[in-house]
Structures are given as C-alpha cells and as structure tokens.
C-alpha cells in the first residue's frame, strides 16, 4: 500500500464502485416508474399512482446519494489522474462536458418537479416530468459509457505536437461502436437491478401480508421487465460486447477465460480456480469447444491464449478479472432462470401464492448489484495495463504531484464518509419500505 499508483487506483475504484450502486437503481427504476404512471393514467387506478409515488420516494433517496457520490468522480479526473487528463482531456473532455450540459441539467431541473410538483402539475405534465427524469438519467449514462468506451477503444483522435491527444472526429467519438454495445449491455443491467428490487419489495409485502395490492403490481412489473432485460443481457448485448472484446482486446478475453494456451476448439470454463503461476486451472468444469463457438461461431475456431501475448501486456490481476467475469455471467444465468420461472408462474396465475418463489424473489435483491459491479470490474480490470487502450499505461496516468500519503488520507476519508452514507441510505430506505406505499409520504410532516 505504499505506492502512489496503487493508492490512486484504489481511490478511483472504491469511489466509483460505491457510486455506481446508486445510479444503477435510478436508471433501472426510472423507466419502471414511467410504466407505473402510464398504467395509473390509462386505467384510472389510484393504486398504480400510489405505487409510482412509493418508488419515486425510493428513487429520490437513491438519487441524492447518486449525485453526492457522483461529483467526486468528475473531480478525480483532475485531482488523482491529472496526467491522464492532460493527455486525453482534449478528447474525453467533450463527452464529460456534454454530460453536464445535456443530461445533468435536464435531470436535476425536472427531478424537483417530479418529486414535489405532483400537486402543482396536471397528471399529464407530471407524467412528462417523470419522462424527463428518465431521459436525463439515461442520457447521462450514455455520455459516461462513451467516455469509458473511448478508453477501451480509442477512436476519433489524433496526436498533437506535444504528444497529447486531440479530437479529430466528433462523430467517431460519440458513435464509437464499442459505446453502442457497452451502453446497451450496461443499461439493460441497470434495468435488471431496478426490476429485481421492485419484485423483491413486492414479494416482501405479499409474504408479510401487507399492502398486497401494491405488492402484486410491484411483482408483476418487476418480473415482466426483469425477464425481458435478463434475456437482453445475455443476447444480444452480452454476446455483442463479448465479441467486441475478442476482436479488439484478445488478450483480455484470454485472461477473462483464463485460457493460458492458444488452441483450436477451445473449451469454456464454467468453474475452476486459475493458477497463473502454474499456467493452469484447478478443479475445472469445462464445456468442450464452447468458447470457440461463442467467440467465432465455429466449433473448431482457433482462440488465442495468454501465451500468444507478451506477459507485460497481460492484465495484471488475472484471477480477479477471471472471477469478476465468471460471477457476472453465472449470476446473469441464474437471473434468467429465476425470471423465466416467475413469469411462467405469473402466466399460470400461481406466482402470488407460490411462497417458495416469493422467498427467492425477496432474497435475490443483492445479486443484481453484485453482477453489475462484477461486470464493471471485468471491463476495467480487463483493460489493464492500459488506461487508454494501446495509448497510455495506467502507470503513466496518475497525478505525479499527489503523493501516496495525501492520496491515502483522502481515500480513508471517503471510506469513512461512504460508510456513514451507506448506513443512512439503508436506514432511510428501510423506513420507506416499512411505511409502505398506501399512505401519504412519511417525509411530509
């Protein structure tokens, strides 16, 4: 823990991981709230409006934490990664500034109206404010993904005389093919979180015999959306993202799969512990030839293993990358199973009485968070040792003027601060769930 590079990496990793626990729920809930409000308007059923208001309150608490933990992210580009900013700011400054101008203003302006303006607005105008918040949050997601996608797959740039990068094509940057797949995969992942959380709270209400009408709405909405997005997560988005990695970052693919030797008809590892020193996987459970097929659509295709690349280009933490990727894929598969069974039971009209299934839905709540976090760890660990793929090493990008001691001081500060914020968040959300969707908000007193 004495190297400045490690401290700066942990600093960003810790703050961004904690931050993304919140936007994934806001981005996931926003379209579901629009659905609830639409149903409430169409069916003239107050239960749907109460359901929408309940989730708007959860959304509001969540949003505050997303905002306050998000501001440090923009700052850290300058404070902790100044050499990177000097090198690449001429390009990614575009997308980051656009996020502020187009997404944050839209989102923050209409959030107040959405949360507190229902009495001042007509139902239609209030519906539009919900749509504006939804659009703002999803637009914000795009600019961030476009920034990260550029770091994964730099496009639309040229080198300036001083060695830094400058923009050569705005449209290449904004329409980076990497951003397209990554955005689809990421947003669908956020929607999975939103759907599972909604279904889980619904299951809790049905199991505890309270707010049953609302609970059924939560489950129905959550399960239908969850089923659709869990499937989209695998195909086409997960598949598309995976094939991009295979094409552009073959060494990353090899490390994710812990494929040490290049081979035709490469197997897919389901479970097993990579032993990087021994260049093997312990206790493997394999599907023969599956990796070749998934990557190239041919069972006998040659897949490059880690031995095809010089060791200095390998991602530094192969075991963590391998586990992140396998946890993401494994959980994604479990989500599909849970949601398919739930939708089947819903269709047969048995879900609301199937206590075992309600228990599964209730307890599944933390797992989409884990899967989303693991997915991001796969993307970011997989990019190593590069900060900007092929152009700048992570070791060259941090602020050379900020010592390890100063970095650790603020890292510890953030850890303390975020512990308090996390406890406060759980306390407030639990309070809203206990209070339930039927009555007036607890906050109005």
């Amino acid at each position: 823990m004495d190297s400045a590079l490690l401290v700066h990496r942990l600093h960003f990793a810790f703050t961004v991981t904690f931050h993304y626990l919140f936007p994934q729920l806001t981005m996931g809930l926003a379209p579901l709230i629009v659905v609830l409000k639409t149903l409430g308007m169409r069916r003239k059923d107050e239960t749907y409006n109460q359901a929408a208001r309940f989730w708007a309150r959860i959304f509001g608490i969540n949003f505050v934490l997303g905002v306050v933990t998000g501001i440090p992210m923009e700052f850290q580009f300058g404070t902790n990664w100044s050499h990177f900013s000097r090198f690449a700011g001429g390009v990614i400054g575009q997308t980051l500034a656009m996020e502020g101008m187009f997404a944050f203003f839209l989102e923050s302006a209409f959030l107040g109206l959405f949360l507190y303006g229902e009495k001042r607005l007509s139902p239609r105008a209030h519906w539009w404010s919900a749509v504006a918040v939804f659009l703002g949050s999803w637009l914000s997601g795009y600019f961030i993904i476009a920034t990260d996608a550029w770091m994964q797959n730099p496009v639309g740039y040229e080198r300036a005389a001083d060695g830094s990068l400058q923009l050569s094509s705005f449209w290449a940057l904004v329409l980076n093919p990497w951003a397209g797949w990554q955005y689809a995969h990421n947003m669908s992942g956020a929607a999975v979180t939103g759907a599972f959380v909604m279904a889980s709270v619904g299951a809790f209400y049905l199991l505890s015999g309270k707010h049953a009408a609302h609970g059924r709405i939560f489950i129905r909405t959550g399960v239908v959306a969850g089923c659709a997005f869990s499937l989209v997560q695998l195909f086409p988005t997960g598949d598309g993202q995976g094939r991009l990695v295979a094409q552009q970052q073959p060494v990353t693919l090899a490390a994710m799969e812990a494929l040490f030797t290049s081979q035709p008809g490469a197997p897919l590892v389901i479970i097993g512990q990579p032993d990087v020193e021994g260049r093997k996987i312990d206790n493997p459970l394999l599907v023969p030839k599956a990796l070749s097929f998934l990557t190239y659509r041919r069972w006998q295709a040659q897949v490059q293993g880690l031995d095809s690349f010089p060791e200095r280009l390998w991602p530094q933490n192969i075991p963590l990358l391998y586990y992140s990727y396998h946890i993401m894929v494994g959980l994604g598969t479990v989500f599909i199973a849970i949601m398919l069974v739930s939708v089947f039971l819903l269709w047969r009209g048995k879900l609301f009485n199937a206590r075992w299934m309600l228990w599964i839905l209730l307890l599944s709540l933390p797992f989409p968070y884990i899967a989303n976090t693991a997915g991001w760890m796969t993307a970011e660990l997989g990019r190593q040792p590069w900060l900007v793929y092929g152009l700048m090493l992570t070791a060259d990008g941090y602020s050379k003027t900020v010592s390890a001691g100063n970095g650790m001081f603020t890292l510890l500060g953030f850890m303390g601060m975020y512990t308090v914020l996390g406890i406060l968040f759980l306390f407030l959300v639990r309070r809203e769930i206990e209070h339930g969707p039927a009555a007036e908000p607890v906050s109005a007193h």
Partner: protein, 346 residues
C-alpha cells in the same frame, strides 16, 4: 477561440456562484433567522426544488473547463488536491443535510442535520472564496505545469504559499459575507412575516461589512499584485466593472430599505458577477499565475484544447446552454412566489 472559451467558462462559473450562492447563503443564515421548525422548513422549501440544479452549474462549469482547458484542469485540480477533496466532502454533507432532514422524525436528528447543512454551507462559501484568492494570488507552478500546494505554510504571500495565507483567508471571508447577504436577500424574496423581517435584518446588518471588505480586498489585491491593473490601464473601459460593483452595493442597500425585495436580490447578483468579471478581466489571458516564475503561468493559449475540438464544442455547448436556460426559467417560474407549507416535501 481560446478567448471565447475563457468567457464561456467565466459565464458558467458566475452562473454557479450567483445560483448556488443563494442557497449556500440561505444555509449560512438558516440557524439565525429560522427559529421554529415551520420556519426552517420554509427556508428549505425556498431552496429545495432548485439547489440541486444550481449545483449542476458547478459540474457543468467543471466539465466545460475540462473540455476547453484540459491542461488547466489537470494542473489546478491536482495542485489543489486537499482543499478540493474537502469541498467534495462538504458538498456531500450539505446534500444529505438538505434532503434527508425531511426523512427524520426525531427533533434531535433534525437539529443535527440542520447543523450539518448550515456549517457545510458556511465552510463551502469560505473554501470557494479562498480558491478564487489562490487563483488571483498565484500558485507555485513548476516548469512542467504542475504544482502541489499544502494547506498552509507560513500564512504569508510569497513564492511558496499554502492554500491558506492572509490574502486567501480574506478572500474566503469576503465570499462568506457576500453569500450571506445574497442568501438573506433570496430568503426575503421567498418568505413572509417574521422570517422575512429577520432575513432582511441580517442583510442590512452585514451589508456595511461587505462594503468595507470590498474596498479592503481591492487594496489588498493591488498591494500583492500590482499587475492586476495592467488590463485596466490598457482598456480603460474596464473601469466600468468596479463602477457596476459599487452601484450594485448602493442599490442593494437602497432596495432593501425600501422593501423592494427582488431588485435587492438582483443587485446582489450583479455585485457578484461584477466582482468575478473584474477578477477575470484583470487576470486575462492568464488563467493560473505562477508565484515561482511568471513564465510558467498557465494562460488560455498554453492550456487550451486543440482548435478542432473547440470549434466542435461551440455547436453543442450553445444548444446545451440554451436548453439549460430554458429549464431554469421554467423551473423558477414553476416555483415562483412565496413558499408555503402546504403539499409534500421537506
């Protein structure tokens, strides 16, 4: 092109200070003017629907700075590492202080969140003022365009200063005083009765200090950095800026004592804009002066992004800016008038 982006960033910073300034100021006077729970909720309601949007100007200004002057962003953010991190912590505490207070039933915790909100607002005002003070005074830039400033050294203005020295502390106090008055005048426009009277009293009480400190700061700035007068000598039209500042100070007193609430607030906003534009005018084209060797200073020319990017940016920035103004006009109209305690929230 660089000059245009210099003005754009200056406009965005000024918009941030004027807008978030009033809710920071409202936080500063909060425990002094709002005595009962009902009054505290009134103040929170006056800023509640807009504070987050106001704060977005900080993010958007930061993003625009990053995009237009990446070198400046990299140098200043890493150099001001410690105070910026503290600003982040304060922004966090303040955000939850405002938003989560309403979720607390217990008066003990409500009081605690009140304290957090108010103290973080006051500290943020001081930090922002000190930051501006640092930029005017200059920082110990090295030849490669980087620096790292400790929080304090010997509190003197020299070639190796800390974040805090007598000059930047003074700038922090001026910012606190300015935003206190600004926030008080905003609360006046949004409230009635006792609360309105108390906020007005605060504004009238602090106003003489604001006038005194404005004059002191001009003299102090000239004494540590006589070069600030160069641009004013070269372009005498700049003299209009201090005249605007003085006129708005006068207008603030006149409008407040006559009970003209909105004009008083507008005059205060004008004062803030005048002070910031005056500083920007004096610095131009330098954006971060070096206290070590003037030739290491960052200017708009050696810190800007490349030409093509800046041209492209003008297009989308203009669209974004017009949209942002439209949202703000809409939201402020939506929540116009005095606040009441009916309906949900806070």
């Amino acid at each position: 092109m660089e000059t245009l982006w210099f003005m754009v960033v200056a406009v965005m910073v000024a918009a941030y200070v004027v807008l978030d300034g009033f809710d920071l100021g409202a936080g500063v006077i909060y425990p002094f003017v709002a005595k009962s729970t009902a009054e505290r909720r009134m103040v929170l309601r006056a800023i509640g629907p807009v504070w987050d949007g106001n704060e977005v100007w900080l993010l958007a200004a930061g993003g625009t700075l990053y995009f237009a002057f990446p070198q400046l962003y990299a140098s200043s953010f890493s150099g001001f590492y410690l105070p910026l991190m503290m600003v982040l912590w304060l922004l966090m505490l303040r955000g939850i202080g405002i938003e989560f207070r309403a979720h607390m039933d217990n008066p003990v915790w409500q009081g605690f969140f009140d304290l957090i909100f108010s103290a973080s607002s006051a500290l943020l005002a001081i930090f922002f003022g000190a930051a501006l003070g640092n930029v005017i005074r200059g920082v110990p830039l090295s030849q490669d365009g980087y620096f790292f400033e400790p929080l304090w050294t010997d509190f003197r203005v020299g070639p190796h200063p800390g974040i805090l020295d007598w000059y930047t502390v003074m700038a922090g106090v001026i910012a606190l005083v300015t935003l206190t008055v600004h926030g008080a005048l905003y609360v006046v426009t949004k409230t009635e009765g006792e609360l309105n009277l108390r906020a007005r009293k605060v504004a009238l009480l602090v106003w003489p200090i604001q006038v005194l400190l404005t004059v002191v700061s001009l003299i102090a700035t000239y004494s540590i950095k006589p070069q600030v007068m160069d641009n004013y000598r070269e372009h005498p039209i700049g003299i209009l800026i201090p005249l605007v500042v003085l006129a708005s100070l006068g207008a603030m007193l006149w409008a407040t004592s006559k009970g003209k609430e909105k004009p008083a607030f507008v005059a205060s906003a004008l004062y803030i804009v005048g002070m910031l534009v005056g500083a920007a005018f004096a610095l131009y084209p330098v954006v971060l002066p070096a206290s070590t060797d003037p030739s290491y200073s960052l200017t708009i020319y050696n810190s800007a992004a490349a030409h093509h990017g800046l041209i492209v940016g003008i297009t989308w920035w203009s669209i974004g800016f017009v949209l942002a103004i439209a949202y703000f006009v809409f939201i402020f109209r939506m929540f116009r008038g005095k606040v009441s305690l009916e309906g949900g929230g806070y």
